[in-house]
C-alpha cells in the first residue's frame, strides 16, 4: 500500500500552470455546433408554423401580416428559449438557424430578450399591431 499515491501529481501541479480558464479574458473558440441565439431568415418561409407548434418553451411566434404575399414576422423570446433546436429541425426550408457565435445573451434590459425578425417595415407593422392589441403574452410555464 502506497502512503501517498497522489504525491507525484500534486508536485507536478505545483509546477505547471493551473487549468482554470479565466473566461471573459481568455476565450476558447466557439464550438461549431454550439446552439446560441436563434436566427430567422424569412426569405423562404411559407408560414407553416411547424416551428411554433413544437417549440417546447413557446418561445417563438409567427406573426402573419399577409399570408398570400408571404409577409411574416417572427417574434422570438430569448428568455424563454431552451436552445433545443427543435424549431431548426422542424423547418423544412432552412429558415431557422442557431448562431454559434452569438451566445452571450445576458442583458440588463428586458427588452433585449424579445427579438423581431423580418423586413423593417413589416416589423414596424407587427410592433404597432402588438401595441394596439391587448392580447396577453402566452402563459409562461
Amino acid at each position: 500500500m502506497k502512503i501517498t499515491t497522489m504525491l507525484g501529481d500534486v508536485l507536478r501541479s505545483l509546477l505547471r500552470p493551473n487549468s482554470t480558464q479565466q473566461y471573459p479574458a481568455e476565450r476558447q473558440p466557439d464550438p461549431e455546433r454550439l446552439r446560441g441565439k436563434l436566427v430567422w431568415n424569412g426569405e423562404k418561409c411559407t408560414g407553416c408554423a411547424l416551428c411554433v407548434k413544437e417549440c417546447p418553451a413557446l418561445a417563438i411566434e409567427l406573426i402573419t401580416l399577409d399570408k398570400a404575399a408571404k409577409r411574416f414576422v417572427m417574434r422570438y423570446h430569448i428568455y424563454r428559449c431552451t436552445f433545443c433546436a427543435q424549431c431548426v429541425e422542424n423547418c423544412r426550408f432552412g429558415c431557422l438557424q442557431m448562431s454559434n457565435t452569438d451566445w452571450e445573451l445576458a442583458a440588463a434590459d428586458k427588452s433585449a430578450f424579445t427579438v423581431y425578425y423580418g423586413k423593417e417595415h413589416d416589423i414596424e407593422m407587427a410592433r404597432s399591431a402588438q401595441a394596439a392589441s391587448t392580447k396577453p403574452e402566452p402563459a409562461e410555464g
Binding site: 501517498t4 497522489m6 500534486v10 508536485l11 501541479s13 505545483l14 493551473n18 487549468s19 482554470t20 479565466q22
Partner: protein, 300 residues
C-alpha cells in the same frame, strides 16, 4: 514605550496579525496550485476579514451572550500572548521567562478550548457535534505534540524558548530528532484542524463545526486567531528543529518551507474520521515520540 510598541505593533500585535493573514493566503494559494486551480488573490484573507468584521453578528437564541462575545476575544488574546514568547521572524522573543514553552503550548491549546466552548454554548446540533470532536481531537494530539516539543527542550536542557532556539542554532535538531519533528509538524496540523485532521469542522457532515453559529465579528476573530496560531506554531517548529533563530529573511524562508510541506500534506490526504484521528495519535504518534525519547536517552 518600547514595550508598548513590541506589544501592539512589532513584533507582536499588528505584525503577527498581518503575518497570519499572509500565511493564510499562502497556504490557500499553495493548496490551490497543487489542486491545479487559481486560488485566492493576495488580498482575499484581508477582504474576508473586513467583510466579516463589518457583518452583523446574529446571536442565536439560548446562548450565553457573555460567552458568545467573550470567547472569540479570549481566543485571540491567548494566541497573541503566545506570539510574544516565540522568536517571530527570527527575532528574539519580546518576553521570556523560564518555562515559557509550556505556557505557549497551553495558550495555543486555549484557542481550541475557546472554540469548543463557543460550540457548546449554542444549541445548534452541528456546533455541539463539532465542539465534541474538537475536544476529542485536542485530547488526542496534545500529549504527543507536547512530548515532541519537549524533545528539543530536553536536548537543550531548558524549558525557555529563547534558550532552546539558541541551542538549536548550533544543532539542527531535525537531523538528530527526525521523529520528533514529524510528530510536531503533524501535531501542529492537528492543532490547527487542517485537513486531514479537519473532522471537527468537516463541512460535508457538520457544516462548520463548532463555529456554525458564528457569522460576523466572532467568526472573524476566530479565523484571525487560527491564522496567528499558524504563525506561532510554524515559528516554534522552525526555531526548534530547523536551526533556531537566524537572520529574519533566512528564518522566514524556513517557515515558508514548512508551510509548503504543511500545504502539501493537506492536499494529499482524505479526511480522517474522528475515531481514526484518535487512533492515529495514540497508536502511532505516541509510539513515535516515545521511540524518539528512547533514542535520545540511548544517545546520551
Amino acid at each position: 514605550m518600547q514595550a508598548v510598541i513590541a506589544l501592539l505593533i512589532f513584533p507582536g500585535g499588528l505584525c503577527v496579525l498581518l503575518l497570519g493573514l499572509a500565511y493564510e493566503w499562502l497556504d490557500r494559494k499553495l493548496m490551490a496550485q497543487m489542486q491545479n486551480r487559481v486560488g485566492p488573490r493576495w488580498y482575499q484573507p484581508v477582504a474576508d476579514l473586513v467583510k466579516l468584521l463589518a457583518k452583523q453578528e446574529t446571536m442565536p437564541n439560548g446562548v450565553n451572550p457573555l460567552l458568545f462575545i467573550g470567547l472569540p476575544l479570549v481566543g485571540l488574546a491567548s494566541v497573541l500572548t503566545a506570539a510574544l514568547y516565540v522568536p517571530l521572524v527570527g527575532l528574539a522573543p519580546s518576553y521570556s521567562f523560564r518555562g515559557d514553552l509550556i505556557v505557549t503550548i497551553y495558550l495555543l491549546g486555549l484557542l481550541t478550548f475557546c472554540m469548543s466552548l463557543a460550540g457548546s454554548n449554542t444549541l445548534d446540533r452541528f456546533s455541539l457535534m463539532g465542539a465534541l470532536r474538537a475536544l476529542t481531537q485536542l485530547f488526542s494530539y496534545e500529549v504527543p505534540f507536547l512530548l515532541a516539543l519537549l524533545g528539543p527542550a530536553l536536548a537543550a536542557g531548558s524549558w525557555q524558548i529563547a534558550e532552546i532556539s539558541a541551542y538549536a542554532e548550533t544543532h539542527w535538531l531535525i537531523l538528530t530528532q527526525p521523529l520528533g519533528f514529524v510528530v510536531a509538524l503533524i501535531g501542529l496540523m492537528g492543532k490547527l484542524e487542517l485537513s486531514p485532521f479537519d473532522a471537527p469542522e468537516a463541512e460535508t457532515e457538520i457544516v462548520a463545526g463548532a463555529l456554525t453559529e458564528y457569522s460576523g465579528r466572532g467568526l472573524a476573530l476566530f479565523h484571525l486567531s487560527r491564522d496567528v496560531a499558524l504563525v506561532v506554531g510554524l515559528t516554534l517548529v522552525a526555531a526548534f528543529y530547523l536551526g533556531g533563530m537566524a537572520n529574519p529573511l533566512w528564518f522566514f524562508g524556513k517557515t515558508l518551507l514548512l508551510l509548503l510541506v504543511v500545504s502539501g500534506l493537506q492536499a494529499l490526504f482524505a479526511r480522517l474520521r474522528i475515531d481514526q484521528t484518535v487512533g492515529l495519535w495514540w497508536r502511532y504518534g505516541m509510539l513515535l515520540v516515545l521511540l524518539q525519547w528512547l533514542l535520545m536517552i540511548v544517545w546520551r
